[in-house]
Subunit: 130 residues, 2 copies
């Protein structure tokens, strides 16, 4: 378990809560998108495809940040800044399927499974509140 | 009303939902934070102070992005990319007070009212889903 993520806020990564993922375009402009995420004790894990713009952006600028709010207490939140450590092909869509089940949407292999990748990101800075 | 924000998703700005605000540090690294926001028909409005780092960052890089998810349908969301158009002093904390009431936290003048500013941001790109 990374000591960067305090035990007090680990539940926000363990519960199936949407994170909001911030990335930076090549022009230096931020983007923000709700995303599925999981935490394996070392890395934030996202499912993505290698055909979309955000994938290219993360290869150009591997820094990202996520924030997650506790829906039961909106003043309680976690921000994790991280760097892409590895991008792993997921041609069977297994990670997507696992995240789909985690988020209560049932088992499903995505139609774009052949292009699926797992983005693994290593935290370097954490902020918590509440 | 800005034609950039489609009527179909305007409720996400009108309801008192937290946005997640993405900004970029001088080193080109993204940050993500839950924030109060309001929409006046032309600008996104945020309350902030002129003493915090994000304020300096937004002066250096005026681009920001917010995303808001519909808590009643997590696949429905709005992303608004915007540029800081104006920063207005709010030394009585009136904007903070208005946002506090909007978000159901009652009237309150913040202790740092003297340093309060209103950040007005003009949308330039909108993405919706659901």
């Amino acid at each position: 378990m990374s000591s960067l993520i305090p035990d007090s806020h680990l539940d926000l990564l363990h519960r199936p809560l949407y994170c909001h993922l911030a990335t930076v375009s090549p022009a230096g402009r931020p983007q923000s998108n709700p995303m599925w995420v999981s935490w394996d004790g070392t890395h934030l894990r996202f499912t993505h495809t290698n055909t979309r713009r955000k994938y290219a952006q993360l290869q150009a600028n591997p820094h990202l940040s996520i924030s997650i709010v506790d829906p039961d207490n909106m003043t309680r939140y976690l921000e994790v800044r991280a760097t892409v450590a590895e991008i792993v092909p997921d041609p069977t869509g297994a990670e997507y399927d696992a995240l789909s089940q985690r988020y209560g949407r049932g088992p499903q292999i995505p139609p774009d499974a052949a292009d699926r990748v797992i983005i693994l990101a290593a935290p370097y800075h954490v902020t918590t509140r509440g």
